[in-house]
């Protein structure tokens, strides 16, 4: 049901770590489906497994077991270089600490993901300009990250995520380093991006952030504790 619109489909995903002699079940049998144009927040206290969730969803890490279909393709068992390509094509990351390249100006930062797609300089430039215009930084393209405010940096990071036209935007505590006014601005930008048809997944521990999202999934001890999506219940029945 609804599989043709599902961007993400996790089936019985686990992630286990060895910590000394102890086995840590960071993710313990996760089943979730994320549909196109979903606007979803993962919430939970620290240690609940939401960071691991983000790493798995972002293809930064591979699950210990289970199946992860991204746009209908199982990416759970891919090699690192294949995962790099998936990240480049399908995922736009937005980090808490912005993670911009310190020596590159805003424009070059936004162009960087396109370098790995072997897109020529002119095209890269015009695509990056478009993305920077979209986040309202057209006038600041030649500024270095340390010449920009926190909110502006996060906008550059959002532009960098948007420029590749990814299937999902994956934000990890996107407002964690921002003041409340800027937080509001960024979240309004997120709302707009959702309205434009983007699929957004936000990992956060802040209630106000989660309130912007259409769907909130709470995690606890590596399991999904609650999911306010009615569809989710229907999905579980189907299995």
């Amino acid at each position: 049901m609804g599989n043709n619109t599902a961007v993400i489909n996790l089936k019985n995903i686990t992630k286990h770590y060895e910590m000394g002699s102890q086995l840590v079940r960071a993710l313990d049998g996760i089943n979730i489906e994320v549909e196109r144009n979903d606007y979803l927040a993962f919430i939970g206290s620290s240690g609940s497994g939401k960071s691991t969730m983000l790493n798995i969803l972002g293809c930064l890490d591979r699950p210990t077991s289970g199946q992860y279909d991204l746009n209908g393709k199982n990416v759970a068992k891919l090699y690192q270089n294949e995962l790099s390509e998936i990240r480049n094509l399908e995922i736009g990351f937005i980090f808490q600490s912005f993670n911009l390249l310190p020596r590159a100006n805003a424009l070059n930062n936004v162009m960087q993901p396109l370098v790995y797609r072997n897109i020529g300089f002119r095209n890269r430039r015009s695509m990056a300009m478009e993305a920077l215009t979209r986040v309202g930084l057209k006038e600041r393209v030649d500024h270095l990250p340390n010449q920009l405010s926190g909110g502006q940096r996060q906008r550059v990071a959002i532009a960098r995520a948007l420029v590749t036209q990814p299937s999902i935007l994956l934000a990890d505590e996107p407002t964690g380093n921002l003041d409340s006014k800027t937080t509001l601005e960024i979240m309004e930008l997120f709302d707009e991006l959702h309205d434009e048809g983007h699929t957004l997944i936000v990992v956060t521990h802040e209630e106000e952030i989660a309130q912007h999202c259409r769907r909130v999934v709470e995690m606890k001890d590596g399991k999904i504790f609650s999911d306010n999506s009615s569809k989710k219940k229907a999905h579980e029945k189907a299995h």
Binding site: N55, G58, L60, D61, Q80, N81, S84, E85, R87, N88, L89, F93, F95, N99, L100, L101, P102, R103, A104, Q112, P113, V115, Y116, R117, N118, I119, G120, F121, R160, T164
Partner: protein, 408 residues
């Protein structure tokens, strides 16, 4: 691939210039290594061209025959000799010889006196034919004549340096100098010949061969040198082998005995010199490659530090889609560019140093860097960069994206 190559070079240059001082200090080993090799090559390059010119003035078609005593024979008190008899034999039976002259040198510099002045010079007994063989002509007066030899006349032809050292007048003809207690009349002044390997060829006194023999006394024990020049049609190798045959039979050498003489051509002298120069260059090259090696290790060190410092950056790049080979290329290109830039700076400063050295030595030809040396130096520094960049680059490429992103 091509795009990412340009892109990698661009950001590598940005990284290098972001830390100018550190980049410079890192490449200092390469700079010094390349600069020293280029300085040496540019100086020796100029020198060997210069020496080549001087040897050509010796006459490429002239031969020198000297006696040669192997070391074991020397220990037994046996000395090989070339005698006036050998000279006569060669004059009689040699083919393709244009002119031939005996040369009898005093074993060491001899004292010459002119009025209150005393000087030391090489005294050489020879004949009129010497001027053709050695391409040495007089600028004032005449050369030794045949009659000088026949009558053992006490006349001398002197070199430019002798005139200077003895404070002789500008026209020294008909002045008398004292040599081994005898008075010699100066009949000619030689054209200046310049020097070879720092030894002046103008500090020379030529006297008739027969006069020299009588000064040295015991005629039966003398060991002469023979210089000869060839006719244009003569083949050098044929003449050498014919002369060898003549002298071997004259000296009653069995077929298993080595020659007790040496036939040298100007070309051989030049080859010998080139060989010495080549060996010198190789020794210096060896020392320099050690310094390049050390320079390379320096680059590797700093690149390893740089990888650690930029761990987070590497994580970011991987998160937004960089594959291992993108990161590998990035750091490899950075190390190579760093090393190449060092090589370039070394090349320029080495050339400058070479020019400085050669201009500080009077009469020395200007330094010149052959293209092959420049390319080799750059190629080698590039190679060092690649070689010592591999380890840091591989370390960067292997980083796990999550760990790298988390790195503080």
């Amino acid at each position: 691939m091509f795009f990412s190559l340009i892109e990698s070079s661009r950001s590598a240059l940005a990284a290098i210039f972001a830390n100018r001082l550190r980049s410079f200090l890192t490449t200092l080993g390469i700079i010094i290594g390349v600069a020293s090799v280029i300085a040496v090559v540019s100086v020796t390059g100029g020198m060997s061209a210069f020496i080549g010119d001087s040897f050509a003035s010796l006459g490429a078609d002239s031969l020198t025959i000297r006696s040669y005593t192997p070391f074991e024979d020397l220990m037994k008190g046996i000395r090989s000799r070339l005698t006036p008899g050998d000279l006569e034999l060669i004059e009689k039976r040699g083919e393709g010889i244009a002119s031939i002259t005996p040369v009898l040198e005093a074993n060491r510099s001899s004292q010459i006196k002119y009025g209150p002045q005393t000087a030391y010079s090489l005294i050489m007994g020879t004949t009129y034919a010497y001027q053709d063989v050695a391409q040495s002509y007089t600028q004032i007066g005449r050369f030794l004549a045949q009659s000088d030899n026949l009558t053992r006349r006490r006349v001398a032809v002197i070199g430019e340096d002798v005139k200077e050292n003895l404070n002789l007048p500008d026209n020294p003809i008909n002045e008398y100098v004292e040599l081994s207690g005898e008075w010699f009349k100066i009949v000619g002044l030689l054209e200046p010949m310049g020097d070879i390997m720092g030894q002046s060829r103008d500090n020379i006194v030529l006297i008739p061969y027969s006069t020299m023999v009588s000064i040295l006394g015991n005629q039966s024990r003398i060991d002469i040198g023979i210089q000869l020049s060839l006719t244009p049609a003569a083949n050098l190798e044929n003449v050498v082998s014919q002369l060898t045959t003549v002298l071997r039979s004259a000296h009653d050498l069995r077929s298993d005995e080595d020659d007790d003489f040496r036939i040298q051509t100007a070309e051989q002298l030049m080859e010998q010199f080139d060989q010495i120069l080549g060996t010198l260059t190789m020794v210096i090259g060896g020392i320099v490659s050690i310094s390049l090696l050390v320079g390379g290790i320096g680059i590797m060190n700093i690149m390893l530090v740089s990888v650690t410092e930029r761990t987070r950056e590497i994580g970011i790049c991987k998160a937004i889609g960089a594959k291992s080979n993108h990161i590998l290329m990035q750091f490899l290109i950075e190390a190579t560019l760093l090393s190449l830039l060092g090589g370039l700076i070394g090349l320029l400063s080495g050339y400058g140093l070479g020019m400085l050295i050669s201009s500080s030595i009077p009469d020395f030809p200007p330094a010149s860097v052959p293209l092959w040396a420049a390319l080799l130096a750059l190629g080698f520094s590039g190679f060092v960069g690649i070689l010592f960049g591999i380890l840091p680059a591989a370390k960067a490429a292997r980083l796990d994206p999550i760990d790298a992103l988390r790195y503080e």
